[in-house]
């Protein structure tokens, strides 16, 4: 159970960190508002599936009148129905994920539009300030996700029975690996070279005919879509959505820490950093009582360690564990073959001329 939970959390955070790495590492946008898109994705999961399932399974209209109040009864009825009809559960899952990505992208667009033409630090401050807006709304507007108490989400994996957590972890890991592959292909594409050019020198990039504001907006929308996906997957994993879960610390500062720790601008480094950090946090939580000899409360150990690690990393190795490397567009073997052919032809030509 420990390992399964660890892998699931690792997969969710990996998706989020890869999105941050796309924005921070490749395009140079300091996005301090990751939490906004994550909350958007999670709130979609809190709002949509329960209404969709109530409509599909024709749950009693008296109960459906007040979804937030009768939340527990409705969700248990839906779970019973999904146990006999797994396909509907899968359909709801995929549809909700697509909607959550759309919501995340929209939120990324809206939050970055006012400051997209200004300097990068203005953009960072705007994103930071707007980050918690959605969770304030969620806390006060009950029909969205049930106010402060939160809302239970129908378990679309309830047809798996006892194997639920194992299989959902496999699905999450597959999603993370898929995101990793897509972003790794993206990192080797001409598009990403444009991003890097923009990151290194905006003036030069715009003099080459690149619309810097537009590219930034595209990167932010793409990154926010991926962040929304991560938030939605987390909500489906825990089967609960509440505004208190989506704080700035867990969903903005921890991903930043992991990305800086692993290596900005290197997807493999980000994966490594995420793995180390999640394992460390999980171990501290799991073996809390073994740390009883410490002179302070164990609760603070996690924060102390994270803070000291970030300071050490910034002092001794500012580029992270794995440095950013020039991305290879074709495999190494093919590259060597081409170089060999070119040099052979060159030597032949020299022989002929002699």
């Amino acid at each position: 159970m420990f390992i399964i939970d660890l892998i699931a959390l690792f997969a969710i955070y990996l998706i989020l960190n890869l999105s941050l790495n796309l924005q921070l590492g490749y395009a140079g946008i300091p996005n301090f508002g990751l939490v906004l898109a994550v909350t958007g994705g999670a709130f979609t999961v809190g709002w949509l599936p329960i209404r969709l399932c109530t409509w599909i399974f024709n749950i009693d209209s008296q109960l459906g009148g007040n979804i937030v109040k009768n939340n527990a009864i409705i969700v248990s009825q839906i779970n019973l129905q999904i146990q006999s009809q797994p396909l509907i559960g899968l359909g709801v899952f995929i549809l909700t994920l697509i909607v959550a990505m759309g919501v995340g992208g929209f939120l990324g667009f809206v939050s970055s539009y006012p400051a997209i033409r200004l300097r990068a630090d203005y953009l960072a401050i705007t994103l930071l300030a707007l980050g918690e807006v959605l969770s304030i709304i969620g806390r006060n507007y009950e029909p969205l996700v049930g106010g402060v108490i939160g809302i239970a989400v129908p378990d679309v994996w309830s047809w798996l029975g006892r194997n639920r957590f194992t299989l959902i972890t496999v699905v999450l890991l597959a999603a993370a690996i898929g995101t990793f592959l897509i972003l790794e292909v993206l990192a080797r594409s001409p598009l990403c070279r444009t991003f890097r050019a923009m990151r290194d020198n905006e003036v030069v990039a715009s003099s080459m005919g690149k619309d810097v504001a537009r590219i930034r907006l595209e990167v932010l929308v793409l990154g926010s879509m991926i962040s929304g996906l991560a938030g939605a997957l987390y909500a489906f994993y825990t089967c609960y959505v509440g505004p208190a879960v989506y704080g700035r610390l867990e969903w903005t500062f921890l991903p930043w820490l992991m990305v800086i720790f692993g290596g900005v601008g290197n997807n493999f480094g980000v994966a490594l950093g995420t793995l180390i950090f999640i394992t460390l946090r999980k171990l501290i939580v799991y073996y809390k009582y073994s740390f009883a000899f410490l002179p302070f409360d164990v609760v603070w150990l996690e924060y102390l360690l994270l803070g000291s690690i970030i300071l050490l990393i910034l002092i001794f190795r500012p580029s992270g564990i794995l440095k950013e490397t020039p991305s290879q567009t074709i495999p190494q073997a093919r590259l060597e073959k081409i170089v060999g052919e070119v040099s052979r032809k060159e030597s032949e030509r020299q022989m002929e001329s002699v």
Partner: protein, 180 residues
């Protein structure tokens, strides 16, 4: 809290604000250290060429801002309830105030702070009279709306807005534009 305690607290905080503001304005505009700090912000490389130690300037500015933050933090629990998440809850509003005022002039922050604070309290109470008490919990969103409006229409903050130009346009109906 009785009336005189309120008055005393208000007097202390405002006089501290005015004192720090005057000292900072003097330092930033009329001493070598202040000019060096400004030069480091504008162009660090050029500043280091002309003999300014950029690293120490950065450390000095962090020192000053940290100390001022400490003063504000010491005054805060006298007025509102102190709690561990106090700083986190004020984070967004502080950034809003500094951006609305403009980060290039020291008095811009005061303007922005007063504007954001008054709009947050008075604006929310006015809205609650019109729309009912349901809007009161959303008062933390008001500064964000001001922030977005500022960034869209006056991205350098209200301290940098060219009021003379706007007033002439308002007076002569855009005639000055045609003349120029």
């Amino acid at each position: 809290m009785n009336f005189w305690a309120n008055q005393a607290f208000f007097g202390t905080s405002v006089s501290l604000l005015i004192g720090f503001l005057m000292v900072l304005y003097f330092i930033l505009n009329y001493t070598k250290i202040g000019v060096a700090l400004k030069a480091c912000v504008c162009n660090p490389m050029l500043a280091s060429i002309s003999g300014i130690n950029v690293k120490y300037s950065n450390i000095l500015s962090w020192l000053i801002s940290g100390g001022l933050g400490g003063v504000a933090g010491g005054l805060l629990p006298l007025w509102v309830q102190g709690k561990p998440v106090l700083g986190d809850s004020l984070l967004a509003i502080m950034f809003c105030a500094s951006i609305v005022g403009g980060v290039e002039e020291i008095y811009g922050t005061v303007l922005g702070g007063f504007l954001v604070g008054f709009t947050q309290i008075l604006g929310t109470s006015a809205l609650s009279l019109i729309l009912g008490p349901a809007v009161i919990p959303y008062k933390t969103i008001v500064p964000m709306i001001i922030l977005i409006l500022t960034l869209l229409f006056a991205p350098n903050g209200i301290a940098k807005v060219n009021w003379k130009k706007i007033l002439t346009i308002a007076k002569f109906g855009g005639a000055s534009k045609r003349k120029a």
